[in-house]
């Protein structure tokens, strides 16, 4: 069986590299031949072309993420029309059914952001910043939007590049310029989360400023374990790679398919759980 995964995240993106590891693990277990493809940047037009290319090869199953239903819809419908079973992952739970996908594995970015925002508000957060290292990437923008909604409004987006030094300097600048900021939400653990923790430490405000992040990195988890950071939101994206491939392999062989969507997260990793996850994260499984 041939299965193609087309995702909007690059192979070198820490989050998506875990998805890819899940895909490979499933391939190994099911014996299916799986290929993972993604555009070079967050580029919906390029991604729809990659889906078309996959459809041309007529695989036995197609896994796609759907951050932009308008742009990707026609290509996905074309795959369905060609008789290819499609499962959607990560983004697009709302449109998945409509476009003809069998089911959706994953969890909406916005919901995850909302959960995190609510939690941080409960912890006493009043004013927050959301570090976005790739403004315009819709799925990241949605994380920030969800966070702002859950947090209750007083949130500024801090746009940065993916250079840790720059992130650290900007977080320091933001915290110094506005001492009322008590919450920092990062959209990526290694690129933004770790430097944000470093910035808070350098200003001597550990504890006064809560730092949380999307996704995991070993370094950030260690900070959580030590109490320097608050929590990390885990979508368990390994499952977003593993499950669809497994499902499609079973579907190709026996026609089996679960009856509904599978939510893979969110899962807040706080101080008590962090230590256990560090090792898995360092191997690219969490």
């Amino acid at each position: 069986t041939d299965i193609v995964v087309v995702a909007h995240g690059q192979a070198n993106d820490p989050f998506w590299s875990v998805v890819k590891n899940g895909v490979e693990y499933a391939a190994q277990r099911t014996g299916a031949h799986v290929e993972y493809r993604s555009p070079e940047t967050f580029d919906m037009v390029a991604m729809s072309q990659l889906i078309d290319a996959a459809v041309n090869q007529h695989p036995d199953g197609l896994v796609v993420s759907i951050p932009d239903a308008d742009a990707l819809g026609p290509s996905i419908e074309r795959a369905v029309a060609a008789g290819i079973p499609v499962i959607s992952i990560n983004a697009g739970s709302d449109v998945s059914k409509k476009l003809g996908a069998l089911l959706h594995v994953g969890q909406d970015e916005k919901d995850a952001g909302m959960k995190a925002g609510e939690k941080l508000r409960e912890m006493g957060g009043k004013k927050g910043i959301c570090i976005n290292q790739e403004v315009g990437n819709v799925s990241l923008d949605q994380r920030c939007a969800g966070f702002a909604e859950g947090f209750g409004g007083n949130v500024k987006v801090l746009p940065t590049s993916s250079d840790p030094t720059e992130v650290e300097a900007k977080v320091r600048a933001a915290l110094e310029a506005d001492p009322e900021i008590d919450t920092v939400m990062a959209l990526n653990a290694s690129v933004a989360g770790e430097p944000a923790v470093a910035a808070v430490k350098a200003l001597g405000r550990v504890g006064a400023v809560r730092v949380a992040t999307f996704d995991l990195s070993a370094g950030f988890l260690e900070s959580v374990a030590q109490g320097d950071a608050t929590f990390a939101i885990d979508q368990q994206q390994f499952l977003q790679g593993y499950l669809p491939v497994d499902f499609l392999a079973l579907y190709a062989e026996y026609g089996l398919m679960p009856g509904g969507n599978v939510p893979s997260g969110p899962n807040l990793i706080t101080q008590d759980k962090a230590a256990q996850v560090v090792e898995l994260s360092a191997k690219g499984i969490r």
């Binding site: 290929e35 493809r37 390029a46 315009g136 819709v138």
Partner: protein, 367 residues
């Protein structure tokens, strides 16, 4: 440039026609294209070279090519435009606003969008010319400014989102839509499908419903640009302005006007691409066209344009875009792991240009 002097000079050796062909900047990149094609014929899934596979890699190649032809013309004229990638997003946003938020018909929205782009081109050009700063830095500023304005604009238009949707619905009924989106020659392809010449889906519709319009635009632009460059006075001015702006001005070429026109053309190419992408995708977001300025320049350079100006061709950029598009999409058809994608992309690019060069030198007997 046809020559009709009798070649009876004892100071000239006879030269093979291949040598003469390879000397032309517009054809130099063919060797690279052949190499890449052969590579994929060997390594890729056979689906790549079916009709639908070919359309599939030609379509991104064409989209890149529309930018690359603009970039190539401007590079021949001695300048750069780093803002074209951002222009794709910006023009997409403007176009979206005109069509969705203002509800204008295409016949008004498209010229307005192109005019907006041309205006930015004029600003780029005038700033470059008047300040004497390198266009690299001036257009770089606009790379940031346009991208930033797109973000701000999209948020304002959508009330906070960075994605503007609903363009497909808004334009579906417009008479001009088929010129800028979808496929051409649908009737022909349907007939071919019925008679079994091309593959169909189980439900009987052809797998390839037609030729994507961007491919036609791409070919048309390449031909038009080549005509202008090689066959018109304006083309001569472009080469002259890029070769040595001072000498050209001293010889009476209106260098400033030429450069400004080229900046406008490049920006308009980017806007044209934006319109097609937006209508095809039905949506636009703040990251559209990201790094496309870079890819456009790459394609032009693969196609033989000199970064220093004064040399190159539109047809070269045409082949360069196809090479680039083929390598980017081609990987999908091979067994190579995505992790190796960039290594592969870099390697193929290098191989294509080096091969090109070696063949050209061998054939034309340079050095």
């Amino acid at each position: 440039m046809p020559v009709d002097t009798p070649l009876t000079d004892e100071r000239i050796r006879t030269e093979s026609w291949i040598a003469r062909l390879m000397k032309r900047p517009e054809l130099g990149s063919i060797a690279g294209l052949i190499l890449v094609t052969v590579f994929f014929l060997i390594t890729a899934n056979s689906a790549m070279f079916t009709l639908s596979g070919i359309m599939n890699f030609l379509s991104p190649a064409a989209q890149l090519g529309i930018l690359a032809i603009g970039a190539a013309m401007l590079m021949i004229g001695g300048e750069f435009d780093l803002s074209i990638g951002s222009m794709v997003a910006f023009a997409g946003m403007i176009f979206g606003a005109l069509v969705v938020n203002l509800g204008l018909p295409l016949i008004v929205a498209i010229p307005l969008t192109l005019a907006f782009a041309a205006l930015v081109g004029v600003v780029n050009g005038q700033l470059t010319i008047r300040t004497g700063l390198p266009s690299f830095i001036v257009t770089l500023a606009f790379l940031f400014i346009l991208r930033g304005l797109t973000l701000v604009g999209l948020k304002a238009l959508t009330g906070g989102s960075t994605q503007l949707r609903g363009l497909r619905e808004a334009t579906a009924q417009d008479m001009l839509a088929p010129l800028f989106s979808g496929e051409a020659f649908k009737g022909l392809f349907a007939a071919l499908a019925r008679s079994g010449v091309i593959d169909t889906f189980p439900n009987g519709t052809p797998k390839v419903p037609g030729i994507p319009v961007e491919i036609l635009w791409f070919v048309g632009l390449a031909l038009a640009a080549t005509w202008v460059l090689l066959r018109t006075p304006a083309g001569n001015w472009v080469f002259a302005s890029g070769g040595d702006a001072n000498a050209a001005a001293n010889a009476g070429v209106p260098v400033r006007k030429v450069k400004t026109a080229l900046f406008m053309f490049t920006a308009v190419c980017a806007a044209l691409l934006a319109i097609m992408q937006v209508m095809d995708a039905g949506s636009t977001d703040a990251r559209r066209g990201f790094q496309k300025e870079f890819e456009g320049i790459i394609a032009a350079v693969i196609g033989g344009c000199l970064l220093t100006g004064g040399y190159g061709s539109a047809i070269g950029a045409f082949f360069g875009s196809i090479i680039f598009g083929m390598v980017v999409i081609g990987l999908t058809y091979t067994q190579i792991d995505q992790d190796w994608f960039q290594v592969f992309l870099g390697g193929m690019l290098l191989l294509a240009v080096v091969f090109n060069n070696v063949i050209r030198k061998r054939v034309t007997g340079e050095r």
